[in-house]
Amino acid sequence: MDLLEYQGKQLFARHGIPVPAGEPARTVDEAIAAANRIGYPCAVKAQVQVGGRGKLGGIKLASDEHQAREHAEAILGMDIKGLTVRELWIEGASQIEAEYYASFVFDRGAKAPLAMLSTRGGMDIEEVSTQTPEAIASLHIDPLLGFQPFHGRRLAFEAAVDADLVAPVGDFLARLYSAFVGEEATLVEVNPLIVTPERTLIALDAKVTLDGNSLYRHPDNAQLRDLSSEDPQERMAKERDLTYVKLDGNIGILGNGAGLVMSTLDVVAQHGGAPANFLDAGGGSKAEAITAAVEVITWDPGVKAVLFNIFGGITRCDEVARGLIAAFEQIKPTIPFVVRLDGTNGEEGRALLAAAALPNVHAASTMDEAAALVVELAK
């Protein structure tokens, strides 16, 4: 679960990480009021769960109320990498002597948290990483041993941090690691981590991704999900416990199990079709889940045909058939469906479907055949 900047900063503050004071705002008026309380100059920052907003105009400095209004109006409602800005964060402007970069990320390859530190933080950090990778110091943390003082020193010296900041940077990283572990994040990133003229360190930004599987242990964090910034169809799916991702095409896809669904997308694409979504109905999909899935998929008016690709394991094909039949009764879709049912209780499922003789539902016996057919029907 990705946090907004200001949520991340609030979380950082719990671990003793210095962050600037600020206020969230959802309207231009709220933004002005906040800016007037905070004083000028202040920063008007788009709250979206994606990196790189600074370069795209999502962060502006306001030196007076007039400018604050101008920026708030410009940024609210702005589209940043497909996300609409619905919330701002107003904070006092910081004096910046240097911009560092610091992060801990869950490194799947190494199966360990990876710590990274650079003295060349700021908007071009990805460029730094490709062009002068040696400017980013990094090391893996043994999760049972935890972050040790020597890790901080090694990172600080290897990143060539100013001598007076070696100890403070080590302390900062230790706190950041404590946030990473304590909040069960898969990413905590501070860019820029600024050095002020007073030679103190402040986290000027906060990117935090929490592990959704751990939220039951962190009820406070579980509250932070920002439903308003999600795609309404994705939210609808989430409310129904379905894993749904919207895509650009016109063929609705449903399968059971992420791997099979991905494979189905690929096979449809190979047949020249364009999937409209990824939808995993999950293991052991029951009739209700199938009904809900049909509802979610067909809610998108761009969908011209739907492919059901089910290989039953825990999922029983007769349950899927029953769910599809119920969905047709409730939703009465008019677009064509191609249904491939195989695996556990496949025969019973196919028999049920055949008996129901749903309008515009075509049976296919293999995944390949099903993909070919649905692409044809969507034309």
Binding site: V105, T130, E184, D211, R217, M262, P275, G283, M367
Partner: protein, 291 residues
């Protein structure tokens, strides 16, 4: 022969008294798996259709000589159950549970690395099926029969799809191993491919991967250096949308790694035949082993 589970397997199921745990345990037993015991704290002394239940893995191992554990408890208790099984001296642990917190998995993985005698499969995996012999987990065994193709996969249903395609061409399986799709699987492609390499029954190895992580890339390097048997790979996710990534750390770490195309390329460079569809996996198998 087969890998991981075989006729020597003596299975103890953690979570045997839960609805799902009970259902799949009995399913596994019906297939022929020697289910010797179960563990549910506080229900020691009870039984599930004649399978004795113990309070701890230690008691279960001592009294029923269990050598394999299946973990079927809900996510908040699963990591602890894996650690308990390892502490009790259970050598093979197959964790079906989906949704274990990532930091729990990391701690378990790091701890178990210190005890190389313990093999963890999963979590978030469908289990291991050695057709005709033993089934531990939730793989629908009816679709598979004994044979010479070893299958290892990160995904559940895609495994069945691939296995089914092979079955339709007349191939059986030595073992089908689901290693699970979580960020920190206890066993990797490399671990399982090594087992298939050493298994005399296995003549062809099929690996089914997907986008994310670098397990397939690592496997490619390993196969080129150490594996003599033919390997066919299938990678899902060519059409998957790029995830919205928070921050820059992900991009800095992975670069272009982790895409389906990068994985397929790495495998082909290692001499692995990469199928474009599950159906093609079976077609390549026919080519390599003969119909």
């Amino acid at each position: 022969m087969s890998v991981i589970v075989d006729r020597e397997t003596r299975l103890c199921v953690s979570g045997i008294t839960g609805r799902e745990g009970r259902f799949h345990t009995l399913n596994n037993r019906a297939y022929g798996t020697n289910v010797v015991s179960g563990v549910t704290p506080g229900k020691g002394g009870q039984d599930v259709e004649g399978i004795p239940v113990f309070n701890t893995f230690r008691a279960a191992r001592e009294q029923t000589q269990a050598n394999t554990a299946m973990i079927f408890v809900p996510p908040p208790f699963a990591a602890d159950s894996i650690l308990e099984a390892a502490d009790a001296g259970i050598a093979t642990i197959i964790a079906i549970t989906e949704g274990i917190p990532a930091h729990d998995e990391l701690r378990v993985y790091t701890h178990l690395r210190r005890a190389p005698a313990v093999r963890l499969i999963g979590p978030n995996c469908p289990g291991v099926l050695s057709p005709g012999k033993v089934n531990v987990g939730i793989i629908p065994a009816a679709f598979f029969r004994e044979g010479n193709v070893g299958v290892v996969s990160r995904s559940g249903t895609l495994t069945y799809q691939v296995g089914h395609e092979l079955a339709q061409r007349g191939f059986g399986n030595s073992s089908i191993v689901g290693i699970g799709g979580d960020p920190v699987p206890g066993s990797s492609f490399v671990d399982i491919i090594d087992l298939f390499e050493a298994d005399p029954e296995t003549e062809l190895i099929v690996m089914s991967g997907e986008i994310g992580g670098d397990a397939e890339e690592v496997a490619a390097v390993h196969i080129a250096a150490h594996i003599s048997k033919p390997v066919v790979a299938y990678i899902a996710g060519f059409t998957a949308p790029p995830g919205k990534t928070m921050g820059h750390a992900g991009a800095i770490v992975s670069g272009s790694k982790g895409t389906a195309a990068a994985k397929a390329e790495a495998l082909e460079a290692a001499g692995v035949r990469v199928a474009k569809t599950p159906t093609q996996v079976a077609e390549i198998a026919v080519e390599l082993l003969g119909g």
